[in-house]
Amino acid sequence: MRELKTVILNETGLHSRPADLFVRTAKLYASRITVHNGEKRADAKNILKVLLLNVSQGEEVRIVAEGEDAVEAIGDLKTLIESDFCRVNPAVDV
């Protein structure tokens, strides 16, 4: 199991385009990935659940991945979030 705690700095939070890129990146991996925002959590591969987490700018999220490719998945999502959703895995159409 791998875990990442990070703050969403993007202006629109984890919404619309960032949420879309986040979910499509998560879907590249076989691991079970969940996003936690305080008490609430969502399956990182379910766009509606991620949107309903309603993560705003400046909020901290915890991302947990379980599975064989958990390390790669967390690394990829970290790059995505920390680059302000600019560095996207090439397998995801932008």
Binding site: T12, H15, S16, R17, K45, N46, K49, S56
Partner: protein
């Protein structure tokens, strides 16, 4: 005119003649969940196919928007695709089909309604309203496929398409490629609704209130829209050769008239006896600025800011708005650009702004009222305008001022916003001229008192007519009562002009009437100082001005103010044009196409 075949009549919302192929736009309706299926496995197969087709559509649309460089739409469509592909949503729907024996349509409906409900309950409602609109769009697309509907979107039209619909809302037309649209025809909608505004903006003929057109016409039918003469539009479905020839002759004549008028573009807008008028353009985006200048507009009399909000996937922030207003200021150096603060509500709803469902939205929380209730929205916009004002002669206009209290409140917010920018050390101009729109009848009687507090008044004839005559302007059932030449309107204008001039303010007209050739001499005769109109009406307005005299127009206004019936007013206006604008005159007189028989 003699015509045969399938002939329908409606109201001209934007003038012109077009021939093309019909595209009957269908909006899927939410199906009732009261029936049950006997074959859940079959329903799940149908569901799978519908989802796959929807995803395919979205991919195709994404490519098209990429080609057009519409990045904002690309992002929306990509997000919608991710929603459509979501496996857990699919599983939820499939479970409902299996366990509750629901048909696929109803199961999709139930699941998506739950989600939109959840979005609507989140905090930060504006933001999530837009997301819930995305979810609804995906849902409608999948349901449309399940119901076997085609033609459920206005993207990817063939060129020369005549778009036929029950009604078109801003959300329907946001992604429409206007360069491929030959005309718009709707069953509902009025002469001053959304369809009229966008059609005039893009110079596309439009007929509204055409009862039965969505049932009489099918996609692919040949269609003729003749909106060239007066207020009645003629729509022909699969016309015979003779009527098509007839229309072709009229169309050539109209084009000839338009060509003749082009010589007046950019000429000084002054009457033969030396009375000068300001001719301005109504615009709604940065893309419309250059065409407006080319058409001869000297200034922008109405910048409709709501379109900035409509096109963006998220509410445009202060910087995005600042850039847009700055572009307008810089496109018209040495002349003014009047930015109207957000005018939403009524028939204009914006996905990113949550509005309560109201029984009477036109009498509800709209325009300035909404802005005063939403200081966050209002302040952001005012800050952007004050910052842009550094780059030119930017002015502010508040829509739907009903009286002194809300005008004072708006002016107070404006002053505080200016002080706030200055305290932050941000470059801005705080002394810019401010105006109030006169569109609520109550404002007519206090026009002088309003004028004392501002630099100008601008009469919004669309809404003022709607409120004076108590007719919902998008309800074609009451069209005959929505009289655009109603005596009350011109008597109201007389009061507004008197009140403004007595208090040192000038008066403009920025509704559709301002660009109506029949009305222009009258408006000038009533003492209006500025007319703001669709850019393409400016050449004709210049011709009307330069060919006539102020003295004659004042006499016309005097005569009109004595009338008690809009029909009498219309015939006075028609006689005026016939008398002064045909036959010999200054320069080459373009012959007006309506005033002669078809040869």
């Amino acid at each position: 005119m003699k015509t045969t075949g399938n002939e329908l009549r409606g109201i001209v919302a934007s003038p012109g003649i077009a021939t093309g192929r019909a595209f009957v736009y269908v909006k899927p309706r939410i199906p009732h969940a009261d029936n049950r299926t006997e074959d859940p496995a079959r329903e799940i197969r149908r569901l799978k196919a519908a989802v796959a087709e929807s995803v395919g559509d979205l991919q195709r649309l994404t490519r098209r928007m990429q080609e057009r460089g519409e990045d904002a739409f690309v992002h929306i469509l990509r997000a919608q695709q991710t929603i459509a592909e979501d496996e857990s949503v699919f599983d939820e729907v499939a479970t409902l089909v299996r366990e509750d024996w629901l048909p696929a349509e109803a199961a999709v409906g139930r699941v998506f309604e739950q989600y939109t409900e959840m979005f609507n309950q989140l905090r930060d409602r504006d933001y999530n309203k837009a997301r819930s609109a995305d979810v609804m769009d995906v849902y409608k697309r999948i349901v449309g496929k399940l119901l076997g509907l085609t033609d459920t979107e206005l993207i990817g039209l063939d060129s020369g398409t005549i778009v036929v619909a029950e009604d078109l809302l801003p959300s329907d037309t946001a992604m429409m490629d206007f360069s491929r649209v030959a005309a718009l025809v709707t069953e509902r909608g009025g002469v001053t609704g959304h369809v009229a505004i966008i059609a005039n903006t893009y110079g596309i003929p439009a007929a509204v209130g055409v009862a039965g057109v969505t049932t009489h016409a099918s996609s692919g039918d040949r269609m003729v829209v003749d909106a060239s003469c007066g207020e009645e539009a003629l729509v022909l479905v699969n016309p015979d050769a003779e009527s098509e020839r007839h229309v072709a002759v009229r169309r050539r004549r109209l084009e000839h008239h338009a060509r003749d008028l082009q010589q007046y573009r950019g000429m000084d807008p002054i009457t033969r006896d030396g009375h000068r008028i300001i001719l301005s353009a109504n615009v709604g985006s940065t893309a419309e600025l250059e065409p407006a200048r080319v058409q001869g507009a000297g200034s922008v009399g109405l910048y409709r800011t709501e379109f900035l909000f409509l096109k963006a996937p998220v509410l445009p922030d202060e910087d995005a708005q600042y850039e847009a207003y700055r572009a307008a200021a810089e496109a018209f150096p040495g002349s003014f650009v009047i930015v109207r603060t957000l005018d939403v509500g009524g028939d204009k709803r914006i996905p990113g702004i949550s509005m309560e469902q109201e029984d009477n939205p036109f009498l509800g929380n709209r325009a300035l009222r909404l802005c005063l209730a939403r200081p966050d929205l209002f302040r952001t916009q005012l800050r952007a305008i004050l910052r842009a004002a550094v780059h030119g002669d930017v002015r502010i206009m508040f829509p739907m001022v009903g009286g002194v209290p809300e005008l004072e409140e708006a002016l107070d917010v404006l002053a505080r916003t200016g002080a706030e920018l200055q305290a932050e050390g941000i470059e801005c101009r705080v002394d810019l001229p401010v105006g109030a729109m006169i569109e609520v009848p109550a404002a007519v009687w206090v026009a002088g008192e309003l004028a004392r507090r501002v630099s100008f008044l601008s009469i919004g004839t669309n809404d003022l007519t709607q409120y004076l005559t108590a007719t919902d302007r998008i309800n074609s059932a009451v069209w005959e009562y929505h009289r655009i030449f109603d005596p009350s309107l011109f008597r109201a204008m007389e009061m507004v002009v008197a009140g403004a001039h007595a208090n040192g303010a000038w008066v403009g007209v920025c509704g559709e009437l301002g660009g109506n050739p029949l009305a222009i001499p009258l408006l000038i005769g009533l003492g209006v100082d500025e007319l703001s109109m669709s850019p393409r009406a400016i050449a004709e307005a210049t011709w009307l001005l330069r060919t006539g005299t102020y003295r004659e127009m004042q006499a016309l206004a005097e005569e009109v103010l004595k009338q008690d019936d809009h029909r009498a007013i219309r015939s006075l206006l028609e006689q005026f044009l016939e008398k002064h604008y045909t036959g010999s005159g200054e320069g080459r007189d373009p012959q007006r196409p309506c005033e002669s028989d078809d040869a």
